[in-house]
Every structure is written in structure tokens, then in C-alpha cells.
Symmetry: C2
Subunit: 194 residues, 2 copies
DNA sequence: GTCTATAAAAAGATAGAC
DNA sequence: GTCTATCTTTTTATAGAC
């Protein structure tokens, strides 16, 4: 890795961490520069404005939370459907618990997006992909005969909401057995009578 | 209402709206003063620092989201249990949809709380009250024979998460039939075999 | 690529007149 | 209570040397 790439990476990673610790608005080039160990104007060589840095990290975050990063429809079969659904949820919960900055940065950008047309569209894409992804999944489950075929729409949205909000609860360190909640949620969409 | 009370109220309401529109960090005394139509130093007569203003609005918001502000355990009977639960959820959804600033300000404070011991305790109280509230409710439902008595804990947390996250989804204007999702969620905790 | 120096604007906050 | 004037600090950002 070239020296300039190293600096670039250091800036991005430091900014990401500081966005989490202090918030995007309160993170300054001075703070980042000091932490990285370079001068403040040096950052302008890589990101010509703070907004550009914010945009860059936003795109990184979006890529990390795409539905396809977690779910592969083909992996779900009649026999493993419930277990696979539980497992994928567990994987997401673990990922979120592992990176303590992740949820906070997401929430930061969620607020930014709610105020800024530039971000909102990209975020809605991700959100929509999740809703449609879950719906396709439940339709497949219904075709396979393992999930109920009524109210697939609302049930899919319910699952998306629960998974999505686990991150929100983690923010406050709420002492919940998130995996148990997910098991419970999955159970409600699985056909009992098989 | 005295003139000073009017100014006080104007400052608080303007700040609340601006916290939503621009975020807490990016809302300045200058902006508030201009909007209210007073000078910047005048605000210091009512709130001796920006932090004090932030604290005040935080407490207002906390009062508005207490579990007891929505749920009254005694109102739930064997006959109306499901309908009452659905109705209370609807009321919360409507309240959130009515005040477009509400969800954003909550999210702002959620992030603040996740970084600040002073806020986190108060917020955890509210959050905890909600979790325990739902649990008590489901226990009552179980005693009345209308809800399942297994996994009451996880089921209660699931309901809390769904209701809580509706606000999050509203932030992005996600086109979801929130009421239908809530109906679906309530249905999953109601005993089918009566 | 990274630095020093510096500009321009705006922040939070106070002093003190009225 | 509300104002004008002002202070201090910090911000984003640029110019230009090395």
C-alpha cells in the first residue's frame, strides 16, 4: 500500500470512528488531523470539503447494509427455511454487536438523510431493498409451504422493522436477548401446521 | 400569559422545531433568536447556556413518550384486550404521524444519550418502562387467557421494538401501512385457540 | 503529498447600558 | 427583560512554500 493510500485510509477510518463518538456535525477536520497525525490542510488534499468526506463514508455505510450482503434467496430451502432465517438474523445481530460504532453512524446518517434529498434517495433504496427482500423471502417460504400465505406484505415489514430496530436498542445498551426476540419473530411467520 | 412567558415559550418551541430541521448541533442561538425575533443575548436570560436549553427540551420530550402516557393497564379486559392493544398502537402511530418533528427530535436525543451519561439514564428509564409495561400487559393477557403464556418476555420486547421503530421508518417516509404491521404484530401474541 | 500561515465567518458567551 | 457591543475560540477553507 502506497503512503498516500495509507493516509487516505487513516482519514476515513478515523472520521468514521469520530462520527460515531462525537457525531458528524461535531467532528472537525482539526480533530481528525490530530488523531491521524497530520496537519489539517492535508485532509483537503484527499477530501476537498467536509461534505465530500461525509458523502464518501455514507456510500461506504450503504454498501455495508445492503440486503444482498446478508441474504441469499437461493440458500433457503423447504428443510432449512426457518433455521436459515434465524441464522441470518443472528449473523446481522452479531455484526452489529461487534462494531460498536456501526449503529451510531447509521443513525447519524439516517437523520442526515431525513433532512437531505441527496442522501434520502440512496437510503430509501437500501430500505426498500430490505422490505422487498423480506417479502420475496416470505413468498418463497409460502411457495415452499413453510410459511403462512396471508398478509405476507405486513409480515415481511414486521420482520424488517424488528431487525432494523435491534440496532436502535443496542445504542442505549438495552439489556435484551436480541436473538430470542428474533427467534420469536421468526416463529410467528412459520406455519405451525406442517 | 406574561410577556416573558411568551418569549420563553417561543424560544422553546422554535428550538424544538429547529432541532428537528437542522439537528441539535447545527442549531445556534443566532438562528433561534432571528426566528423568534429577539437578540441572541436575550436567550441567555432564559437559558444560561445552549446545554441548558438542550436539557430542558430533552425533559419535555421524555415526558411525552412515557409508557403511562399511552397505556393504562386497567383498561384491558378479557373482552377488549386485542382491540384495546390495537387501538393504543394506532393512537401512538397517529400521534407520531401528526407531529412531523417528533421522530427526528427523538432520534437526535437518542444519539446524544448514547454518548452522554447524563441523558442515557433518563432515556433508559423510559425505555425500560416500555419493556416492563408491555411485559405486564402480556402477563395480564395471559392471566385473562387471551394471550399465550410462553415466551412472554421476548414477545413483549418484540412488540416494543415494532412500535418503537415505526418512528424510525417514518423518518424516511417509508411507504408502509404501519397500522397493518401493528395489527399483524398484535395477532401474533393473541391466543388463537380460545 | 504535506506543511505553515492565514483569511473569513460564525460559534458560545459576557459586560453593561437602558 | 432586552438591547448593543465585544471577546474568545473555533470552524471551514485557501495560498503558497517545500
Amino acid at each position: 500500500m502506497k503512503s498516500s493510500e495509507k493516509t487516505f485510509t487513516a482519514i476515513v477510518e478515523t472520521a468514521y470512528r469520530m462520527f460515531s463518538e462525537y457525531g458528524i456535525a461535531k467532528t472537525t477536520y482539526s480533530m481528525i488531523a490530530e488523531e491521524v497525525g497530520i496537519s489539517k490542510p492535508s485532509i483537503y488534499y484527499y477530501f476537498k470539503s467536509k461534505e465530500e468526506l461525509i458523502n464518501y463514508i455514507f456510500e461506504e455505510v450503504c454498501k455495508a447494509i445492503e440486503f444482498s450482503a446478508f441474504f441469499t434467496l437461493k440458500n433457503f430451502t423447504k428443510d432449512n427455511f426457518k433455521d436459515e432465517l434465524v441464522a441470518v438474523g443472528f449473523r446481522m445481530i452479531e455484526e452489529q454487536a461487534k462494531d460498536k460504532h456501526f449503529n451510531r453512524v447509521i443513525q447519524e446518517y439516517l437523520l442526515l438523510a431525513s433532512r437531505n434529498k441527496k442522501y434520502i434517495q440512496r437510503f430509501e433504496m437500501v430500505q426498500q431493498e430490505f422490505l422487498v427482500g423480506f417479502e420475496d423471502l416470505l413468498k418463497r417460504g409460502s411457495d415452499l409451504g413453510v410459511t403462512s400465505s396471508v398478509n405476507v406484505h405486513a409480515k415481511a415489514h414486521m420482520l424488517a422493522m424488528i431487525l432494523d430496530n435491534i440496532g436502535n436498542f443496542m445504542l442505549l445498551d438495552v439489556k435484551i436477548d436480541y436473538k430470542q426476540v428474533w427467534i420469536e419473530a421468526v416463529a410467528t411467520i412459520i406455519r405451525d401446521e406442517v
